[in-house]
Every structure is written in C-alpha cells, then in structure tokens.
C-alpha cells in the first residue's frame, strides 16, 4: 500500500501553497473580509490562477476529475491560509451533490462553480453538528409548474455572499427530504446577516413561499446525497484543520525560539519542548485520520460515515489541544487580536461549534457501530 501523495498531488499542493502564500496574509485577509464581495474575489482568483474550482468534476463539464485525496491536499493548503470557507461549501459540499444529479440545471450549476460565477451556501441539516438547532425546517409544496419553499435555516455559513443556496426541505405526503437549487436573490427569501468568530459571514435564513421553477428541484430523495455531502464536508474539514494546526505549531515554534525569558529562548525550556512535541504528535495523528477518511469517502455509506465520525472526533480533539497550547505558549500576546494566531485559534473553535464537537462525533461513531451490529 502506498500512502504517499503521488506526483501530481505534490504539484497541486505546491502550486496552491505558493499561490496562497503569495496572495493571502493575515492582514490582507482581514482587511478584505470586511468587504462582502471578498469571497467572490477569492473564488475568481482560484479559478483564474490555480483552477482548483473544477477539482472534483468530470472533464466533460470542464472539471479536473480528481478524487478525495486531491481535495484533502487543497483543503489543507486552504486551511493553512485560512481561506477555506467558500471553497468548502461550494466545491466540496454543493459539488458532491451536483455531481450526482443528472439534470441540465445541475450541469449548468457546475459550470458556474468552475468559472466562479456561482458561490453556494448550504441550507440543509448537517446532522451531528448542531443537535436541536439546525434541522431543516423548510417545506416544499407543488405549485403547478414549480414549487413554493417555506421554512428557515439558522447559521447558514456563506449565506450573506452566496449567489445560490442549496435548500433541503420536506416534501410530499411521505415528507421525504428534497433538495432545491435556489438563487439567493429569490423573492421571499430573507437573510439576517452576521459575522462568525472566525471572520466568515453567515445568516439566519427565512423562506416565505419562495417560488422556484420545476428544474430547481435537484432530487426528491435527498437523504443519501445529503449524507454523502456531509461526509465529504467532514473529510474536507479534517484536512483544513490539519492545515490550521500545522500553522499554529509553526508559529509557536518560531515564537518560542525568538522570545527570551530568564536569559534564554523559551524553546529551551523542557516543559515547552515537550508540549510542542505533543502538539506535533497530535498533528501527525490528525493528518493520518484526514487521509483515512479521504480514502474511505468512496466506501459504502455506513463505512464512510463511520470513518468520517472517527476522523472528526479525533481531529477535533487534536485541534483543541494544538490551538489552546499555541495560545498558552505565546503568553499574553497570544490572547490578543494582534497576531494571526488568534484567527487560527478562532477558526478551530468555529469548526468545533459549526461541524460538531468531538463528543458529538463520538456519539455518531457509537451509533454507527450499533447500526453495524444489527
């Protein structure tokens, strides 16, 4: 078994890494974030300079036909530069769904993703992420040629700047889950926008009899696709977290090497050496889990979900440990808004809150074991 990145994956990693380090530092990212148009600019930059928006899509639609490990490579790099959010929802989550829907509307949507004219936010339940709060509470009713959608979705990441939304609803007599592709400016759709601690924008979304045409319906049997997209998102989040953790450790090592106390660099104190060693160990275990889940994404749904739960549980724990110790080892300066460190710390925290804590994923893992046994 060869678990090394192949040559083209190495090239991908290096070119994305180079592009990001040339174009995004913490200051610039922060300045840009106050502008609602920034995610679109970001995505256009990806389209024009590194072509990663087509990564998972088939060549006949203009895609690169790459697999989950390639996505892992890209997400880790995006995580290291803290610019992963619109890519995650658009290419990874929405992309997973659109790829499996064989309609003209879905194909058009994929083309729009690839040329960065569509930025998509996800408005369906990410089970395990939120317990009680974020179940899909929308319903769709048939309306002659199309449908009316009503309901709401809280903390819709990227909602404020998205051009389109993927809305999950209950539909029909049996209340099965359906998925709709909805333009964000559709009448009847209102958004209460706000910022998240990691600097991304989100909204609470309300749909009040939003009329959509028949071809906005992507599938009326969405549950399996949603589960698949959620697992793909989890795998991507795992890779992103690894990118963030590597950066947190690198910054910490650098800082403790140059900060002098008691007449020597902090990095010479054995307690701190051991702590940084432990951070490194956590990151290596996390990277292995990120690879594991990427490789399991194409397995059977139960196996895939179990792998995703395991990876999120383990990586979530690693993320907290690395992030908290990175701050701790910086001392007071680490608790301020001045260093990039704080932004990375808050992204790790946001991931935990938005995509589910290690505890939640352990419970999901337990459930998937029980399901297997039955």
């Amino acid at each position: 078994m060869n678990l090394m990145l192949n040559e083209s994956q190495c090239i991908l990693r290096d070119s994305v890494g180079r592009y990001l380090s040339d174009n995004y530092d913490h200051q610039r990212r922060r300045a840009a974030q106050s502008d609602e148009g920034w995610p679109q600019q970001l995505m256009r930059g990806f389209a024009e300079n590194i072509g990663i928006l087509g990564l998972p899509f088939p060549p006949e639609l203009g895609g690169l036909d790459c697999g989950p490990v390639d996505t892992m490579v890209v997400m880790e790099a995006l995580g290291g530069a803290l610019v992963a959010e619109p890519y995650l929802s658009t290419v990874v989550a929405a992309g997973t769904i659109l790829k499996d829907v064989d309609t003209a509307a879905a194909r058009n949507a994929i083309s729009a993703i690839i040329d960065a004219t569509a930025v998509i936010a996800i408005a369906f339940s990410q089970d395990g992420a939120a317990g009680d709060f974020s179940n899909v509470k929308a319903i769709a009713r048939s309306n002659g040629d199309g449908y009316f959608l009503s309901g709401n979705n809280i903390v819709t990441r990227g909602g404020p700047y998205a051009t389109h939304l993927l809305v999950g609803t209950c539909m029909g007599v049996d209340g099965r889950c359906a998925l709709f592709y909805v333009p964000a400016d559709a009448p009847g759709l209102t958004r209460v926008n706000y910022s998240l601690i990691d600097g991304d924008r989100a909204c609470d979304l309300t749909l009040d009899k939003v009329a959509v045409p028949a071809d906005a319906l992507l599938t009326s049997d969405a549950a399996p696709l949603i589960a698949k997209a959620n697992d793909a998102t989890r795998a991507a989040i795992c890779a992103e977290s690894v990118g963030i953790m590597r950066r947190l450790l690198a910054d910490t090592v650098e800082y403790t090497r140059q900060r002098l106390q008691f007449g020597k660099p902090l990095s010479e104190f054995q307690v701190l050496q051991h702590r940084m060693a432990a951070m490194h160990v956590e990151i290596e275990l996390a990277a292995s889990m990120a690879l594991m889940v990427a490789l399991e994404l194409e397995s059977t749904p139960p196996q895939r979900s179990k792998a995703a739960a395991a990876a999120m549980a383990r990586i979530g724990r690693a993320g907290r440990f690395v992030a908290e110790n990175a701050v701790q080892l910086h001392g007071a300066i680490g608790t301020t808004d001045e260093l990039a460190l704080g932004q990375y710390f808050k992204r790790i925290l946001a991931i935990d809150l938005l995509f589910g804590s290690p505890d939640m994923h352990v419970s999901r893992y337990v459930e998937s074991c029980v399901d297997h046994a039955n």
Partner: protein, 395 residues
C-alpha cells in the same frame, strides 16, 4: 466558630444579598465576559458593600475589614457566587490593600486604605513589561532619583483596567547593580500624572481590558514608595500570593456554572433540549472538581489568621486548579450553543441586527475566549507548576 454560628452567619449574608443584589446588577454580572465586572456595575456594587462594611473581607478589622475569620470569608464569597453577584476587580482590595497593610507607613495606610475602601481610588497593576513577563525580575522601567522625587521612564504592558484606574502600583528599576531582583522598588502613582499615556490592546474576543502604558519623565514623590528602596521584589511576590490565592478560588467557576444552569432553564422553556447525557456527565465532572478545589481551599484557609496570605505554594496550587477548571466550565457553556456559539456577538451587537441566537448565550463565546487568559495572567500555569515543584522536590 461553631457550625451553628457559621450557619447563622450564612443566613445573614444570604439575606443581605437577597435584599441588595438588584436584578440589574445580577443581569450585568451574568452578561460580563471578562473576569471582572466593568465600570458602573463595579462602582455600584462596591458602594453597597462599602456601606455595609463588607467590601474588604480579607482585611483586619482595624483597617476597616469586617473582622471575619477566613472561613467566614469563604462562606461570604460562596454565597456571593451562588447569588450571582458581580466580581469586583482585585487590584484595589485584594492586592494593593494587603501590601499597604503589611509594608506601608502609617501615613500611607491612613491616606490610602480609607480611599480604597470607599472606592475613591481604583487601582491597576503595573508589573509586566514587553520583555518581562514570566521573568518579572528582568523589568526595566526605571525610576531615577531627582531631589525628593522619582522620575520614571519606560513602559508597562497588559495593565488590566488602566483605563478605569486613577492610581497604579508598579514595579520600577531603581538599581542595575547586583542581582536583578535586588534593584526593584514598589511605587504608587496617580494615573493623571503628566507623562503617562495609555494605549488600549484588544483581546481575541474583541474586549478592551488590557493596555500598554508609557511613562515619559513621570515625576512622583519619593514618599510614594512602599517599603525600602530595592526591596520591591519581595513586596511584589507577597502581593502575588494574594492575587493567586486571595479570593475564593472556585468563585468564578461556580458563577459560570450557575449562569449556565440559568441559561439552560431558559433554553428549555424555549423548547431546546440541551442537557444530553454527555453534557450532564461533563457538568458533573466539573462540579466534582470544584468540590475538590473548594475543600482544598477550606483546608488551607482554616489554619490562617485574618489577613494572612495562604503562602506561595498554596496560592499557586489554587490558582492553577481554578484557572484550569474555569476554562473547562466556559468550554462546556459554549458547547451548549451549537452553531450559534460561533457567532461573533460583539460585531452583531455593533451592527443593526443586535444579538443573534438565544439571548442567554450572548457572552458564552467571549467568556470562553477570555478564559484562555486565565492560565496566563497572574503567572502562567507553567510558572505555577515550577513554584510547586520547587517546594515538592525541595530545591
């Protein structure tokens, strides 16, 4: 004191708190993200306690303390926590007061102590410098004699609430000879002295609690020195024992748990079910740890006289344990918000939308982020371990 008397005392405290803690004060305390309550809330609660004679529980009676035993004091503080009282900043009562009582001249005591009690003087602590954090003895901010004055030049950083304070106690370098520890003096300066400027520093959660101060030819009378010249480090360390071990170590943790419990009752009234079994287990673990901390403090404190410090090793042990527990408690609280926990409420409040998500969780995020500083200020957890190790291993 017998158990029966202690219970009577507890009842008296409880009745007082019932009567005087207004809903506004409780609300303000519950919505505070930092360690200490802010400006107006503090002043108001300080006044109430002052009128009653209870504002300085740790001080000996002759200086205006209530004359309580350390155990009574613990009871008082745990009742305050149970009632959700605001936490007063420690710099005045908990830190500056005991130092003046122990090392101040009669004049200093009779001038400063009543003003600390009344709240007229609000203190901040000028120890840390950019290059002198854990290694406090390497501080450089210099005081040079000029006639009967000291002229101070240098900088202090991370000064909590300097923007509210009208006095600062600070460590300055008065000699560069001999051991570094032996060239430090402890001095007091009014914050409106010409030459002092304050620059705010924002925390990760967006709060303004700490500052950097610059001293540019700041002139203070030599009579504002506490203790002998170059004896300041000993005083500084004595003060740290109070900073670390002076209060009820578990008070902040119990407050966080109390606010969390109240929040969840509200949440349940709105139909959310947040207390699943993993929550309940974690909540119980924290409460059990808190019990261990409380009984440890009781054991330590029961041997003390009023006004005595717990000593450096016990202070470190209490501080270390309490800060760790506080961090766990704030993490637990934040997790109950699910995705709403990731909302930047500070930005939301500044914009049109106002608070996003359930009101009860408005400060859980900021409190967790702020809580990261608990294992850093007042001496980092690594430094507390070093102090404890020195005593355990006996070097």
């Amino acid at each position: 004191m017998r158990i029966k008397d202690l219970e009577a005392f507890r009842a008296e405290v409880r009745a007082f708190l019932d009567e005087n803690l207004t809903p506004e004060l409780r609300d303000a305390a519950a919505l505070q993200a930092g360690v200490y309550s802010e400006g107006d809330v503090c002043r108001s609660w300080h006044q109430t306690l002052y009128q009653k004679g209870w504002v300085a529980p740790s001080w000996p009676e002759k200086y205006g303390g209530p004359g309580w035993t350390p155990i009574q004091r613990m009871i008082f503080e745990s009742e305050c926590a149970a009632a959700g009282a605001p936490i007063l900043p420690g710099m005045s009562i908990l830190m500056c007061g005991p130092v003046l009582i122990r090392f101040g001249t009669e004049e200093q005591k009779s001038f400063f102590l009543p003003r600390i009690l009344s709240g007229e003087h609000f203190w901040c602590q000028g120890y840390s410098e950019p290059q002198a954090g854990s290694d406090l003895a390497s501080l450089r901010c210099a005081a040079v004699r000029d006639g009967d004055d000291y002229v101070i030049n240098g900088t202090k950083i991370w000064t909590t609430h300097a923007h509210y304070a009208n006095w600062i106690f600070m460590l300055v370098r008065t000699s560069t000879e001999g051991r570094r520890q032996d060239g430090i003096s402890f001095v007091l300066a009014p914050m409106d002295t010409p030459g002092i400027t304050i620059t705010p520093i924002l925390s990760m959660s967006g709060e303004h609690e700490v500052n950097q101060l610059f001293f540019d030819d700041v002139r203070i009378p030599m009579s504002n020195r506490v203790g002998d010249e170059n004896e300041g480090f000993k005083i500084a360390k004595y003060l740290l024992e109070f900073e670390r071990g002076g209060g009820d170590a578990g008070m902040q943790v119990s407050l966080v748990l109390k606010w969390l419990d109240e929040a969840l009752v509200q949440a349940e009234a709105q139909g959310f079910k947040l207390r699943d079994s993993s929550y309940l287990t974690k909540r119980a673990e924290i409460e059990i740890d808190l019990l261990a901390l409380t009984w440890t403090q009781r054991r330590i404190v029961s041997e003390l006289e009023t006004g005595q410090s717990v000593g450096d090793v016990s202070a470190s042990l209490l501080k270390l344990t309490a800060s760790d527990l506080y961090q766990h408690a704030t993490e637990l609280a934040l997790a109950t918000l699910g995705p709403y926990g990731a909302v930047d409420q500070r930005v939301a409040l500044g914009e049109d939308e106002g608070l996003i998500g359930p009101r009860y969780g408005a400060v859980f995020g900021a409190r967790y982020l702020n809580g990261r500083a608990q294992s850093i200020f007042g001496g980092t957890s690594e430094i507390q371990h070093t102090i404890i190790a020195r005593s355990v291993i006996g070097r």
